[in-house]
């Protein structure tokens, strides 16, 4: 999908020779690619330029270390600087000495404020706090109802005033209510607004002055493009923000907007939102985000994705079967399904460093449809056939091919691959006993 930095740098890196210090020419040629990678990731044009210029000043004349090619060394500098920038200082919400702690969630339309409010409430509850959610979006139809529904799902009460027209009055009233009911955190969900809408931005400032929140949190959609700087700059200038929450990071956006927003506001990312389930709010990892923005692959996310979709017990059971070579076509199908549940193959491939740049080419080789065909073939077998593939003779093969809408050749190929895989599994077992690590045993046509 995106041509990743690593793939593009590979050719350049081999052209550069290892010398004593990084020359300006070495640095230039690599930084050109870095800049393109940042732009592809939607880092703002000006932010990318300023960033690259800073790196250049720092890199030229540096000693080349023995272990790295000059190009790699520049990329390492870039990565480190990105991590440093994204790392920020404050890493958590600020809690008031005298409760309640007041948190105001702001952002443009559709950034994910309401979902984030519920996720944050759920997180706070897990940490033993008693949050109160406050519905002040009186403009969008059913916005209050939406907060009530998600509030109920996470077990947090929602304060609202039916028929109210002034969001600031609602927010004020909620503080009195929180004190009465003994809530130690008040989460105010503000209406979404365009940063160019002066009237609504002024209203938000008035809201801030009225409720004096301990944290104003800007909710940012990870898919935002170049406009992220204008947006964040305006919220920072008019309302003032203390931290960020990045949403929709479970998609395949590279998330360059995060860098733009951090650069413009100087505020840290507190959490990232992934998924629509209300437990999908996680601490922010600057190193992973830096790799993602640079398109350098994200093995950690891949591993987490696998953990999330593949049930641990099922995996242990699978491992036991593999060791005893009891692996059947049923198990094979199960594995296929778990892999497919993790998401589209090319986005998974994109997370593997080194493969990221070649995702487009590989997508043809391991395309989703060929996996679908394999599954269809296995589905067309009887339970007996799946357990003991050696009983599948010519006539059964014809039937399976007809049943799955494939050809006999396809069926033959699958059975052959399965046999090879079984042999491989045995060998992997032996390798592991010798202390070497095995590879995923299936080669997809």
């Amino acid at each position: 999908m995106f041509e990743a930095l690593q793939g593009r740098l590979q050719t350049i890196i081999t052209q550069l020779t290892g010398r004593g210090v990084l020359s300006e020419a070495d640095v230039d040629v690599v930084l050109r690619e870095v800049r393109l990678a940042l732009l592809e990731a939607d880092v703002n044009f000006k932010v990318a330029k300023a960033f690259v210029d800073r790196i250049k000043a720092a890199a030229v004349g540096q000693q080349v270390t023995k272990h790295l090619a000059p190009g790699q060394q520049v990329v390492k500098l870039v990565h480190e600087e990105l991590v440093r920038l994204l790392g920020g200082t404050a890493r958590d919400l600020r809690f008031a000495d005298r409760p309640p702690t007041i948190i105001l969630l702001v952002g443009v339309h559709g950034a994910g404020k309401t979902t984030t409010a519920a996720k944050l409430a759920a997180r706070l509850k897990r940490r033993g706090r008693q949050p109160l959610l406050v519905a002040t979006d009186l403009r969008r139809p059913a916005a209050v109802t939406q907060l009530q529904v998600v509030g109920e799902q996470v077990g947090a009460p929602v304060f609202s005033q039916p028929g109210a027209t002034d969001p600031i009055a609602v927010a004020r009233a909620s503080l009195r209510d929180a004190e009465r009911a003994g809530h130690d955190v008040v989460l105010i969900d503000a209406a979404g607004r365009q940063h160019a809408d002066d009237e609504l931005m002024t209203e938000l400032r008035a809201m801030r002055e009225a409720v004096q929140p301990h944290n104003v949190v800007l909710v940012v959609d990870a898919m935002t493009g170049q406009d992220a700087t204008a947006m964040a700059g305006r919220f920072q200038a008019v309302v003032g923000i203390d931290g960020l929450i990045v949403t929709k990071l479970d998609g395949d956006a590279r998330g360059g907007a995060v860098l733009s927003v951090v650069e413009v506001t100087g505020r840290p990312v507190l959490f990232v939102g992934t998924g629509e389930k209300l437990d999908g709010l996680e601490p922010f990892h600057p190193d992973r985000m830096a790799s993602r923005i640079l398109g350098m692959g994200d093995v950690l996310t891949l591993i987490e994705k696998a953990e999330e979709t593949i049930d641990a017990e099922a995996a242990a059971e699978m491992e036991r079967k593999l060791r005893r070579a009891e692996f059947t076509l049923d198990d094979f199908r199960e594995q296929l399904r778990s892999v497919r549940k993790m998401g589209p193959l090319d986005s998974l491939i994109g997370m593997i460093p080194g493969l990221a740049g070649r995702a487009a080419g590989l997508a043809g080789a391991v395309d989703e449809r060929s996996l679908g065909r394999v599954e269809a073939i296995i589905n067309s077998m009887t339970p007996d056939e799946r357990a003991r593939p050696d009983i599948i003779d010519g006539s059964r093969r014809r039937r399976i091919a007809r049943g799955s809408g494939t050809s006999i050749q396809d069926v033959n190929r699958l059975l052959k691959q399965f046999e090879e895989a079984k042999k491989l599994i045995k060998r992997v077992g032996e390798f592991e006993r010798k202390g070497k690590r095995g590879k995923f045993p299936f080669r997809l046509q």
Binding site: G112, Q146, D227, D252, A253, P344
Partner: protein, 297 residues
């Protein structure tokens, strides 16, 4: 004699053009091209499409000075965007399915579109097929009430394809002109949710065979390059017929639709420009390019 005259004139002409060439050949400074490229990238056009546009610009022989360059650039972008593509909803009854990732403005767009079509005297029916997001059905019901059109709804969590199926039955029974189906926001990377969308689409394709059907992908104007991935995946899943560019009333330019037109040939049909019912317009490529690259004063 005439021949000589002609030859003489030709020489004059040659000399003249040569002089002119010298003046105009003040080759366009790199800075001009750099500035244009920056403007395109800052409008979210993206590096590959911005480069393609500049390559075409450099290849044009009529572009000699900074004055003509903007005009030529506008022409190139207009060519990429193609002609204005109106909604295809005639003859009635027709169906429109609204698609998109979370938070782009599908439901609001439906409210505006229903209003727009009702004002044209069409009978509109909404199908609340976003049965997933909290209060999405309520939100659509409020729009239906404001616009004064009918709505088919099931309980939250119901099968969205079943909602659409019932809505099509209602469309036949009640002599409706246009059915607009809301669908749940889904990130294009979620395989299961994309499968669900295909199912909805199959129901519509089967029940509305030979009827006009629009499958509109709603994009947020502030989205960056990921919009291309969204468009590609949704197109592969359900053959998107057009784009709606929502939230164009901010400072975002929505230039990524040029990249989508360039790479995937999906036309923009509508733009959303605000929060009120009237803030929906047919897409006008010229106006769009004007906003993207204001003509130099």
């Amino acid at each position: 004699m005439f021949d000589r005259l002609r030859a003489g004139l030709a020489r004059t002409r040659e000399a003249f053009t040569a002089r002119l060439d010298q003046v105009l050949a003040q080759p366009l400074s790199r800075a001009v091209f750099d500035e244009l490229e920056a403007a395109l990238i800052e409008a979210d056009v993206g590096v590959p499409t911005a480069s393609a546009i500049l390559d075409r610009l450099r290849a044009r022989r009529d572009v000699r000075d900074a004055r003509s360059v903007r005009g030529a650039l506008r022409e190139i972008i207009l060519e990429l965007l193609g002609e204005a593509a109106p909604l295809r909803i005639d003859p009635p009854p027709a169906a429109i399915i609204m698609l998109g990732v979370n938070g782009v403005g599908k439901t609001t767009t439906i409210g505006k579109l229903a209003h727009h079509l009702s004002r044209q005297g069409k009978r509109v029916l909404l199908a609340a097929a976003d049965t997933f997001r909290a209060a999405a059905i309520d939100q659509l019901a409020i729009w239906a009430q404001r616009v004064g059109c009918e709505i088919v709804r099931h309980a939250p969590g119901a099968d969205p394809a079943a909602v659409v199926f019932d809505a099509i039955a209602a469309l036949r029974a009640r002599a409706i002109d246009v059915l607009i189906a809301d669908t749940a926001g889904r990130l294009h990377t979620k395989v299961n949710l994309m499968e669900e969308l295909k199912k909805i689409n199959r129901v519509v394709a089967r029940e509305m065979a030979d009827r006009p059907v629009e499958r509109l992908l709603v994009l947020d104007a502030s989205t960056g390059q990921n919009a291309i991935a969204q468009a590609r995946t949704f197109k592969d899943a359900v053959e998107v017929t057009g784009l709606v560019l929502a939230k164009l009333d901010g400072t975002a330019k929505g230039g990524v639709v040029i990249a989508i037109a360039h790479e995937l040939a999906i036309p923009v049909k509508l733009i959303g420009t605000g929060e009120t019912l009237d803030d929906l317009q047919p897409f006008d490529p010229r106006q769009f390019v004007d906003a993207l690259l204001p003509p130099t004063p």
